[in-house]
Symmetry: C2
């Protein structure tokens, strides 16, 4: 196997390779433990919309040419309109790409992350020399050189009011607000305030639009910070397909409104199924739901035997996170599996 | 204009924004100066193959899902086979993405770049705190903490023998060999040696395959270096489309051989046209040719009036670089424009 090292190293922990953070969306693990082929599984281990924006045909030039300045500006304008902001912003290869770059904006110091949350923030900060402490209340983030709040939070859906975060911004060197799951609650977004000095707002494209493989997200902030992030990302940070598809989807505000409405109803539907099975609602957003169960590992294994893959967390024995099923057949399979659980 | 700042800042130099390096491939500049719409222009300002690999249909899951470990491993295996190496490698969003990350591997020190060459190496190193000196001979790179050789070089096509570069590798802290234009001369590649300590080899996918908008490239190196680059890039550094299309294209060795043969013949054809117009061949690769002309600005303007966009360089008044035309009609338009030049 010519790339044996790659197979093992960048994604699997070994004695001499860095430990990779656990994530949803990796069916390889499900198949390795429980068998089956990818097409047999219902993947509810992510918060990615299972009813994606219809992917339009990609123009040939988007494949063959390097994106131009005009292409990038068009995408930036579409994102600014969709997110309701006049703040400077830069397109990046997913909110994840922004998470990789933000720790490079300042000299490393003390960072504070509102936890538990998406584990890549802490990892990216530590990899670049930051000391990271975790806090469970917003007030305990005060004083940090850099503070991270995922809003709404993943996985518990905790939502912070803009005023509270803006007040926090005055008490930290830099405030990073990761709004990867904000599309369903735009009234709580800080996008409109992102030009304030020291504030960075991250947006994900792939989750709400259900096109996570495209790798598209945005960082919003002050002019100097966005210039610096654009410089760190280099020219052509996103693909021609991301520009073509991203523009089309972000400009379609009707789809966004209808999708937010649909997701809200379906999140309630999932809660009803889960509570009928004896699970307790523990939060979430309209793209994923968090439940408290007697034994998270057992609950995941139960659903996995029905080829349904859900997310559990290394820091909790009782929490299970489920994305929303898409097709009717997937809802039916999940309902049946949860019913068997309740019996 | 909501994103007025973006429009101006990340790509256009202003008093308070960083100066962006000049690049080929940006027809916006051509249109701003000479008019016309994008479809009117023949863009020969890049070294991107104008007869691209036929883009296969992208499977739906490549759009909607996050790439899995198995997807990434499949792409890595295809690249390793195509590049003839067993060295560890990591897929990235273009060779450019690797150029952005390589300066982060070590603490900044003194870097030496074999020049003149692709200007992003120096820029990325300086942006991350390296002192950069330029050298015109390989021997003058010795002693640097980090040395960069673009092989074959852009724009003059200078090709260094593997033995010479391996010897240089013993005399520098780290040797970065950018093989973005190596697909036509695989016998000169260091890919097979890339696992040697301190060596990093960069490969571009988009140029030879003519799919530059896809954003795909590879970094090859020792296990610890590739682990670190993968960590700096974060999970999901390339899109699902890049994995699907990249695997298919890299596995098609027949297309690669036939394309290398075609490009070789067409590079000679371009040289004949140019020398007939009184231009002197000054090097290049089989994806672009470099010519010495009496006045580079005038030569570019002459071709621009025929809606043909070529590359000139801020550091030379006499050099013009042309990519190879694709379609027969484009060859004919270029021939006619060069003939008028000769008259």
């Amino acid at each position: 196997m010519p790339n044996a090292h790659f197979l093992r190293a960048p994604h699997v922990a070994t004695a001499d390779a860095p430990v990779r953070r656990d994530h949803g969306g990796d069916l390889d693990a499900a198949m390795a433990h429980f068998g089956g082929a990818a097409q047999d599984w219902i993947d509810l281990s992510t918060g990615i919309n299972a009813c994606p924006y219809p992917v339009p045909p990609v123009p040939e030039a988007a494949w063959t040419r390097l994106p131009t300045r005009a292409d990038m500006a068009r995408l930036a304008a579409a994102a600014a309109a969709a997110y309701g902001t006049t703040a400077p912003l830069v397109p990046l290869a997913g909110a994840q790409a922004a998470i990789q770059l933000v720790p490079l904006l300042d000299s490393p110091g003390e960072a504070a992350v509102l936890a538990p949350t998406y584990n890549e923030h802490r990892a990216a900060l530590e990899a670049r020399g930051w000391r990271v402490r975790e806090a469970t209340h917003v007030r305990d983030l005060a004083g940090a050189d850099l503070a991270v709040v995922v809003n709404p939070n993943n996985p518990d859906g905790r939502l912070h009011a803009p005023a509270d975060l803006l007040a926090l911004g005055e008490k930290v060197g830099r405030l990073v607000v990761d709004e990867s799951f904000m599309d369903m609650t735009p009234e709580a977004s800080l996008a409109a305030y992102a030009a304030r000095r020291g504030l960075i707002v991250l947006r994900s494209f792939g989750k709400f639009y259900g096109i996570a493989g495209l790798r598209l997200g945005f960082a919003l902030g002050s002019g100097p910070d966005i210039d610096r992030l654009a410089d760190l990302a280099g020219p052509w940070p996103v693909s021609g397909a991301a520009i073509a598809i991203g523009c089309r989807a972000l400009e379609d505000r009707v789809w966004a409104r209808e999708t937010a409405t649909r997701l809200k109803a379906e999140a309630l539907r999932l809660d009803r199924l889960a509570t009928s099975a004896g699970w307790r609602c523990a939060g979430g957003t309209d793209l994923f739901r968090l439940y408290e169960v007697p034994d998270a590992v057992a609950a995941r294994a139960h659903l996995a035997r029905a080829a349904i893959w859900v997310r559990i967390f290394p820091w909790s024995r009782t929490l299970v996170r489920l994305g929303l099923p898409g097709r009717a057949a997937h809802w039916a399979r999940l309902a049946a599996a949860l019913e068997r659980r309740a019996e």
